[in-house]
Amino acid sequence: MARIIVVTSGKGGVGKTTTSAAISMGLALRGHRTVVIDFDIGLRNLDLIMGCERRVVYDFVNVINNEASLNQALIKDKRCENLFILPASQTRDKDALTLEGVERVLNELSENYDYIVCDSPAGIERGAHLAMYFADDAIVVTNPEVSSVRDSDRMLGLLASKSRRAEQNQEPIREYLLLTRYSPQRVKLGEMLSVDDVQEILSLHLLGVIPESKAVLSASNSGNPVVIDDKSDAGQAYQDVVSRYLGEEVPQRFIDEEKKGLFGRLFGGKA
C-alpha cells in the first residue's frame, strides 16, 4: 500500500511544484518506487520542472475519463527508473476531476508504488481539495512571509476537517512544515519572519528549511529537479528533507547565516 503525500500550501508561488519534483526524485533515488501527480489541471507545470514536457501524450484527465489507461499516461523518468510522472491536462479545467475518478486512479497506483506525491494547485478550491482529500501525509510549503503563513494556516484547517481521514474519523493526516525561500541574513536584519516566528503561528513539525537559492531557477529552466544538483544549497536542503521524511535524524542546516571568509565574500555570489 502506497503512502500518499500531498504537497500543498494555499498560497501560490511558494514552491509546491519545485518541492514535489525534488521530493519525488529524492525518494526515487533512494530506491523507492515513486509516482508524482500534477493536480493543477489547466495550468500544468510539473512536466516542465521534471523535463518531460515533450513526452506527454495522455494525461490525468484522460485516465479519469477512461480515454487512456494508466500505463499509457505515466511517463517514466529518464534519470531514475523508480520515478514516474502523471501529468495534468493543459486544455481542460479542474471541473474535469471527479472524486471517484481520483480515488480510482490512486487505488490503482497504490498497488504498484511505495510513494504517491500529489502536487496540489494553489488555492482552496476543487483542485486543491481533491489533491489533499486522500492524503496520508501533508507537506505544507510556506514562505516566511505573513500572507503565506496565514494561507498555510487556512490550509491546515482544511486538512484537519475536509480530508477523507477527517471525515471518516481515522488517524489524522501527518502534517509537516517546509519553510522555503528562507534567507538567514534578512531574518537577522528583522525583515523576514524567523523559523520561530512561523512556528509560533503554525505549531507544526518542521520538516526542513530551504534557503533562497539561484539553483532553483536554473533547475526549472533545465528541467532537472533541484535535488539532483547536490552542490547547491537548495539541492542539499531537499536531500536533508527527504532523509528527515524517511525518519532519519538530520540536524537543521541553512537556518543560521553562513560565516563567509574573506575569499567567500570577495568571490562568493549567494543571494
Binding site: 494556516d153 491546515l156 484547517g157 482544511l158 484537519a160 476537517s161 505549531s203
Partner: protein, 247 residues
Amino acid sequence: MSSNPSQNTSPAAVELKSGSITLPILKVHTVDMADIDQQLQQKLGKAPEFFRNAPIIIDLGELTEEQKQALDFASLLKTVQGLALAPVGMRGGTPEQQKLAQADKIAVLADVRTESALDNAGEKKPAPKRAIPPPRPITATTKVIDQPVRSGQRIYANGGDLIVLAQVSPGAEIMADGNIHVYGPLKGRALAGVQGNLEARIYCSDLQAQLIAIGGHYRTNEGEDDAFKGKLVQVFLQDNALVVESL
C-alpha cells in the same frame, strides 16, 4: 428512534418528529421602508457573520390594522432577503400578505399574544404553545477542543460552554451559548453567550483576539487589549460594556 416496528415492514425512509428551535424574530414597527432598511443594515452590521443566511421570522403583530394595510409586504421581503437573511416564516399579516408569503414558500405562523397585543385583546386568540421559545435544557454540555483552531474554522458550542486547550489562529471563530475558556493564545474571534446570555464570560490565558463579544456586545482589538498579552484574563459585561480584567 424507530417508529412502530409492528406496522412497518421496510426500514423508515423519513421520520416526522416535533422539535423546538429558537429563531430570531424581526418585529416591524413602521411602514417606512427606507427606515426599516437603514436600521436593519445597522443592526446586521454589528455581527454580519452571525446573521448571514440566518433564518428569521417576520412579525407584523406590532402594527395597527391601518399600518398593516399600508405596508408593502413584497418590498419588505425583498429588503430582508437582500440583506442575506432567510425568512422562514411570518405572522400577523393581512390575508393578502399571507398569500404573498406562501407564494414565496414562507410559512404563515399563528399569531401570538405579545405584551402590546394585549391592547387589541379582543381581536387576537390565545397563542399556541409552539410560538414560545422552549425552556433551556437542564443539562448543558461542554465542548472541549484540544487541537489548534485554524484560520477559517468555526467552532460552536451549542447550549453550553466551550473549552479550547490549544491556540486559536487569527481568522478562526469560536462561539458558545455559554462561557468560553481558551488555554492557549487566542488570536481569532471569540463570541460568548451568542443566544443572548449576557452573563457569559470569556476566560483566556493569552488574549490577542481580533474580536471579543458577549451576548451580542462586541469589541474589536485596536491596540487597547495588547496590555493583556500573555496574562490570564477574564472578559465580562458590566453595564453593557465589555470589561477585561486580569485574574
